[in-house]
Symmetry: C2
């Protein structure tokens, strides 16, 4: 078995006290330069690493953030939403930049959350990520609040604490989608995605979409709306309904790319061409969007920026610093699924 060196070993070898070793290793300015260099050289040589548990215990903080990715239990378990995976990537990188470790955990929305990360001092704060019905976890959010846990979350609003939430300007995103569909010459629109109270992000996208249509003289009443959670199969099923209803539709705005993929699959099965017969617009810009045929036009959410803001805001919270409410600005990505501008 290997025996790890401790600060006492180094102290012995350097001929100084253990306190001095600790100070030297933390680059304390009050330790003599030569002493510091000697100590650091020995530490390197012994491949010494500060014991995190001891250090954390003593300092009462962990330099670790926890990421809770929760999934809607109705979702196909094997397929984690690619959008969150991409967020995970950027959060990881953002943590590395700020020298934080990242504890990752997937949770079912229905689970009794293991949100005890902070209580057990494993993490200094928590990042919450996940679609799913907002109402389902509102209660849990408030429990976190009551426990004074430091947390930050994507999408869902925490009543009374807008600063804890980061999200895209979804309404603006919906507007961009609507404008593009209009600019590409479409006339009869539909929306696919849950736009109820339980899905604040989807609702905002819907509202923005309607904003754009209104400007063109189209009212919300003229836009059929089909519910779908953010999965491919939900998009597929919603499209079956739409088609069965014999609506006159030449453009569908989907609340997420995953839904859009499902919509396109259904359309293809029913021998409808995209974009010639029906245009399809997504939201998120997940990797599949560009691989789809035709490539999916969509509204991009900048996950790199989102990850960094999430991490930075959480760190501010932990350090009792103020944070400002901010939003990610969505961006229109034009590919092939909506045809070309006719303006």
């Amino acid at each position: 078995m290997r025996d790890k060196a401790t600060s006492f070993d180094i102290a012995y070898m350097a001929g100084v006290s253990q306190s001095t070793v600790s100070r030297a290793l933390r680059n304390s300015p009050q330790v003599n330069k030569e002493t510091r260099e000697k100590v650091q050289a020995i530490a390197r040589q012994l491949n010494y690493k500060v014991d995190k548990n001891a250090s954390n215990l003593r300092q009462q903080r962990s330099s670790t953030l926890a990421l809770l990715l929760f999934e809607d239990p109705t979702t196909d378990e094997s397929l984690i939403n690619p959008f969150f995976l991409s967020m995970l990537g950027s959060i990881t990188r953002a943590c590395a930049k700020r020298s934080q470790d990242l504890l990752v955990s997937f949770q079912q929305l229905s689970d009794d959350w293991h949100a005890d990360y902070e209580d057990s001092n494993k993490a200094d704060g928590i990042i919450l990520l996940g679609y799913g019905d907002y109402k389902d976890y509102e209660e849990k959010l408030h429990k976190l609040l009551a426990q004074e846990t430091h947390f930050v979350c994507w999408g869902a609003e925490v009543l009374g604490h807008p600063e804890f939430t980061l999200r895209s300007n979804n309404r603006e995103g919906g507007r961009l989608a609507g404008e593009h569909l209009l600019a590409t010459g479409h006339k009869k629109f539909a929306f696919v995605g849950n736009a109820s109270e339980g899905s604040p992000e989807f609702s905002a996208r819907y509202l923005g979409f309607i904003d754009a249509l209104n400007k063109a003289g189209i009212s919300a009443a003229q836009v059929p709306h089909f519910d779908a959670i953010s999965t491919e199969s939900a998009g597929d099923k919603a499209t079956e309904q739409l088609l069965a209803g014999r609506h006159q539709v030449d453009a569908i705005f989907c609340a997420s790319d995953l839904i859009a993929i499902g919509v396109m699959r259904c359309l293809k099965r029913r021998n409808l061409r995209v974009p010639e017969d029906i245009a399809v617009m997504g939201f998120d810009d997940i990797p599949v969007a560009s691989f789809a045929t035709p490539a999916l036009s969509t509204i991009q959410q900048d996950t790199t920026q989102a990850g960094e803001l999430l991490v930075n805001n959480l760190l501010q919270l932990i350090n009792n610093q103020p944070i400002t409410v901010s939003q990610i600005e969505p961006k229109l990505i034009i590919r092939q699924s909506c045809g070309f501008n006719r303006t």
Copy 2:
């Protein structure tokens, strides 16, 4: 500020010693049932959680595993290989099952690895994941070995320690691919993917592919081979080369799905139909595979099983238990990109 309860607070409230509290909370059989229940009730009531840092420090282990996802620096940074993302998901779940926390970190292959997770007692062991050139990190693997770090890795073999590696039976997978391409009536084959020493997994897939072709009387010399790392753009470029060389090819076996997606994109751009003109076969079965048009036939690697084995093996290693060399059995997934069986 909230003040966290300690085991002393509980001891005081329960009228017992702190040692008894500790024992009761860990369900020690030697503590009186009533005492135990009383203590646990109070702990629940105070929302008490054992301080992980203190507990780990005392026990000299962390119940935490670290996952190092390293990427080839040449790869597009924003697009993490979906196959590894899916592994990440299953590893997370496997960790949860075994009550382990998971620390996640992305590393560039070129970085000075932050593989000091175990040295600093943050994790009891490390899981290594990543494509990229094997030779580049062989040295690093041996450093881990020298430090007696507990680790397990996907794909790449650790010389002298086959038990540390888990991977698919890649050769068998290649064989399945070859057989399917043969069964669907194809005659002129090509392979796209690095099959050099630096890519042991891709090489094995190539070899298995050739095994199958040999049985049908086709020699390796008749199969043109184009290098590509595991990205879409590499697959696209390799296909341009293939087409420029005017090879007579009616089927391409790609070392990964990402490569296959790139190959199909190039084929489409060059107005070649899949599978009518050229069949395309992938490897991995990442989510995009089923979304592609035509849907990609591929060799599936069972990531759920892989994740569990990786975690279980690592835990065995940590506990000084023996582990057996095992392989994931690949599975042929027939979709549309190779046409239909003609046998």
